[in-house]
């Protein structure tokens, strides 16, 4: 046994805390003290296996190495803690085996659920102390930024283009191409005349609004490895010539906010942010801004208006934010996962990343399994896995034990998929081909107690509640949609109301400025098409 106290890892991820991780951590500390046993309690992100939270990982160090082998136990409730001590988990663990206990799981990396994943973006989440720059660097952090500091901006951009990375926020636009537009917007915007308020001439904005139900990968990354996002944004700054970054974070994420603020402060203190990043003489400043509970502020132009201190209303395009974005300056707007994928791409090269995936969907996608599943959580996999594998092999089927009936992928604007479409492959084009969307990778499963007419009504209700109000089809159409669906459910003038609903969907689809109004018909129509029996049968 090494002389250093054992490292004991417990998650500080918001979901883990909601499942009792704080009580478990406190019980561990108290029991260790009571027994006079020294342990080093480390708070990490979550490994993403929510049914095993609170997960406790005990590191039996080899010599005085800080990177010993971990043995996991879970789910460990506070009441289970004394029995772990009794079993010798903290006093006589065998490296790689831990100590025998009913809750012993073995090494997380060896668990079937975990082993088959390709954790690129989430490699450090659940492993490192999210707020420790030293831990981050010890696990490969800042290598991508180091490389980028020695590269010409155009070369960084080319690497990201070559990696095949597409935006993970929903629209799947190639990230490198967006960056190229911002890089090349240089000359026109840097004259002092067009920059009278001496504001930065370009911006990097991270979209951390993560409003889609069923999604939490941004949150888990920000809480579990916030420095990875910091690094990705700094690289983006170098690539396009931006010196100021903002993370627009939804106000519903207080834990992520604390993690980001602390990580940013640590990065400044260690010289990875500020006027001289990594001793290069190059500048990048970063701060967090909070949203205020408006789903539409996830749409990039509404987000920019919100950052400017206005109502979050969608802007007409053109101009593209890449050319005229925040405060009228060329701006990169990227999702958290897009940006957090960049450090590894720089470190390992474009080909390394591109080699994962299928078709035009390259790399990996952090998939969020949510709703009525036994094993919910975060799975990172190369594109190409089928929905069925996710639902049954990873998700373990329904939590309720009843048959799975419908799955909504890609958030509230995504189509509902029936069991006959569960063999669809996770790939942007394959989903588009069946009128669905991958979006941000959220998978929400429903069992056979779901009322799909109620889900259709909710889709309209959500659109009505969250519409920015700019276009009539979205603002008024969605409210009408709720009424029409309520009449259909009540069996009132059904034929007439089905026709009305179809008209409304068409008008919303073609008369809306953005995808909130434009795509709300998708969950409605798919529910009707695949589950007509829930609408009283459609003649």
């Amino acid at each position: 046994m090494s002389a250093a106290p054992l490292r004991v890892c417990v998650s500080c991820d918001a979901s883990a805390l909601a499942l009792g991780a704080e009580r478990t951590a406190q019980a561990l500390a108290a029991e260790a003290q009571r027994r006079g046993i020294a342990i080093e309690l480390v708070r990490t992100g979550s490994r993403g296996m929510l049914w095993l939270e609170p997960l406790v990982e005990v590191e039996a160090g080899i010599g005085d190495s800080r990177l010993g082998i971990r043995t996991a136990y879970g789910p460990v409730r506070a009441a289970d803690v004394p029995s772990l001590f009794d079993a010798g988990v903290f006093t006589s663990p065998v490296a790689g085996e831990g100590a025998a206990h009913a809750l012993r799981l073995g090494a997380v990396e060896e668990l079937d659920w975990f082993k088959r994943q390709q954790r690129l973006c989430f490699a450090r989440v659940g492993v490192t102390d999210p707020l420790s720059v030293a831990d981050y660097v010890a696990h490969g952090g800042f290598r991508g930024l180091r490389k980028a500091l020695d590269m010409a901006p155009a070369a960084i951009v080319q690497t990201v283009i070559d990696s095949g990375l597409r935006g993970r926020g929903g629209a799947a636009f190639p990230t490198g191409i967006k960056w190229k537009t911002v890089l090349e917007a240089a000359r026109s915007s840097q004259s002092p005349i067009s920059n009278p308020e001496s504001r930065p001439s370009k911006y990097i904005v991270c979209n951390a609004d993560e409003g889609d139900s069923g999604t939490f990968s941004d949150r888990m990354l920000m809480e579990g490895d916030p420095l990875c996002l910091v690094e990705g944004m700094a690289i983006a700054g170098l690539a396009v010539g931006a010196t100021q970054g903002y993370i627009y974070l939804r106000s519903e994420y207080p834990h992520a906010r604390r993690a980001l603020d602390a990580a940013i402060a640590a990065a400044y203190a260690a010289g990875w942010l500020g006027a001289d990043i990594g001793g290069s003489g190059k500048r990048f400043e970063l701060e967090v801004r909070l949203g205020a509970g408006a789903y539409i502020c996830g749409e990039e132009t509404a987000l920019l208006d919100s950052l400017e201190g206005k109502r979050g209303q969608v802007r007409f395009k053109p101009p593209l934010p890449a050319l005229k974005g925040l405060f009228g300056r060329p701006t990169v707007v990227n999702n958290v996962i897009s940006l957090a994928s960049v450090p590894l791409i720089l470190e390992r090269g474009a080909a390394f990343y591109r080699d994962y995936g299928t078709g035009r969907s390259r790399g990996t996608l952090p998939i969020q399994l949510a709703g009525n599943l036994k094993r919910t959580g975060l799975v990172e996999l190369a594109f190409g896995v089928t929905l069925r594998e996710l639902l049954y092999d990873y998700g373990g089927g329904s939590l309720s034990g009843r048959p799975l009936r419908a799955v909504q992928v890609g958030g509230p604007l995504g189509a509902y998929l029936p069991a006959s479409q569960f063999d669809t492959v996770l790939d942007y084009e394959a989903f588009a081909a069946i009128g669905a969307m991958l979006g941000h990778g959220g998978v929400v499963a429903f069992d056979d107690t779901v009322d799909m007419a109620e889900q259709a009504r909710y889709a309209m209700e959500f659109c009505a509640a969250e519409s920015c109000g700019k276009c009539t089809p979205c603002r008024i159409g969605s409210t009408r949609g709720v009424e029409v669906l309520e009449r259909i459910r009540a069996g009132i003038e059904r034929e007439k109301n089905f026709a009305l609903l179809e008209d409304l969907c068409e008008t919303m689809r073609f008369g809306s400025l953005c995808a909130l109004g434009g795509l709300t018909p998708d969950p409605v129509r798919s529910a009707l098409a695949h589950f007509p029996e829930d609408f009283g049968g459609r003649a």
């Binding site: 979901s15 993560e210 429903f446």
Partner: protein, 174 residues
């Protein structure tokens, strides 16, 4: 977009009580010079006072060189900002799909029934305010509930909800 409140933005506002005025001034001093200052400023006011008093709007408007209507337009746009004080505790219940799939609709009905209030309302004893929220990023273990600033609850059953409410009321009584 929130439905516009009945109260017109142009109505004369009562004067701001001294302690509130002080909090507003502090928020202005800290945030007014930042680019895009309005949201950070409103957050600071609401964090300090629990709401954004309508009487604060002209003060904020003046500090940022905006019209009062502009500030009102922003406050009313965002669901997070409230213009009246909440109860001692705020319960935010998730209404979104992933939580629906795990029983959130039944929980919502239970919450309304047992508290005897609807969303956006406060119990008669001033103890609890019920607010809807659309996803808390806890979609793998819903139904989800956020208590006050940052106490997240997972797998909230009707019993767990009652126990939580009981605890909050007891703490208030003690």
């Amino acid at each position: 977009m929130k439905p516009l409140p009945a109260r017109s933005g142009a109505a004369p506002s009562p004067a701001l009580p001294a302690d509130q005025a002080q909090a507003v001034q502090r928020a202005i001093a800290e945030h007014a010079a930042r680019p895009g200052a309005l949201l950070p400023l409103l957050h600071a006011v609401q964090d300090a006072l629990g709401h954004v008093p309508p009487a604060a709007l002209p003060v904020i408007a003046q500090a940022l060189n905006l019209t009062r209507a502009e500030v009102h337009g922003v406050v009313s746009f965002y669901h997070h900002f409230r213009s009246t004080p909440p109860g001692r505790h705020v319960l935010r219940l998730c209404r979104a799909e992933a939580c629906q799939a795990r029983g959130a609709r039944a929980l919502e009905a239970h919450a309304r029934r047992t508290l005897g209030i609807d969303f956006h309302q406060t119990t008669a004893d001033g103890a609890l305010t019920l607010e809807p929220v659309y996803c808390l990023g806890n979609c793998g273990c819903g139904p989800s509930l956020l208590l006050d600033a940052d106490e997240l609850h997972a797998n909230v059953t009707a019993d767990a909800f009652d126990a939580l409410v009981g605890r909050l009321r007891e703490e208030a009584g003690a």
